[in-house]
Symmetry: D2
Subunit: 92 residues, 4 copies
């Protein structure tokens, strides 16, 4: 059971929409669309991925991290792991 | 003819790989995989999209912007349009 | 008492270094240095700020969020607040 | 003479404001202000730096890159250099 488990369908719908957007960019490239319009679509996909990631992160913090029990070492590890994931999001 | 036109196949291959990665994240969510592992995959997709976008941008600058002719107003417009696309990438 | 309180000196040193880097960019601009070199310095400042922010965030999660007591509503609020701060970092 | 040379004062004003914002964050840390409020200020500095960088980039594209003469190799080099700077901005 994960922090996001009760929202699996919601996340799957959003990921399927993102999959469709990626295929849309493939079509634009095949049809030789103007570069800036292709870039605009890629930025839209990036923003959609950001919001999926932030949702998963909030669920993770509220479930897996908060439920890390009272052992300070386990808590510290969970928080360090979550911060490393946040760092990857900030840098990607 | 676009800046990327001669590399269309290269971009389509990379975009199909990204499409596959998005489907991979869907599978992870359906199989209730650990949140951090899902987030790691999303960051990998973000980085792959960044590099496609930067490639398209370099092609665009080298082709559409440089070939904007000698009219300073047209040049200025093309550069402003490219900078706005860069801003969206920086913010997404 | 904050999550970062015991590391105040560490954070102040890093922030003073960043302040010095910003003054360095001012000098470069006054001395009409090459644009790309100025941009490289700005990216270095951005990375330094990212790492200060990620440090503060880890401290905050480990202290303020974990110590949010057992009231689920308070926990939820603290996590939502932290996620909103993460979203601002991802977008900036 | 750089792309930004005629706007040096404008950039210096914005960089001095950013310097003041960094000192403001130092004060918040010294006064043990709430972590989220400190993070909010750091995101504001990041956004201010983004807009300085994007301004410098637009000036650079419009001046140094466009004036790269008719030698395709020199143009290619200038564009590759600019794209590398954009990549650092996107990643920082």
């Amino acid at each position: 059971m994960r922090g996001y488990s009760q929202d699996t369908d919601k996340y799957l719908n959003r990921l399927r929409r993102i999959e469709g957007q990626v295929r849309g960019v493939q079509r634009m490239v095949s049809e030789d669309k103007y570069c800036i319009d292709v870039l605009t679509q890629i930025s839209a996909i990036q923003s959609a991925l950001d919001s999926v990631a932030l949702g998963l992160l909030e669920d993770h913090l509220g479930h897996c991290v908060m439920a890390a029990g009272n052992d300070p070492e386990v808590q510290k590890e969970k928080i360090h792991e979550a911060t490393a994931a946040i760092a990857r999001l900030v840098k990607s």
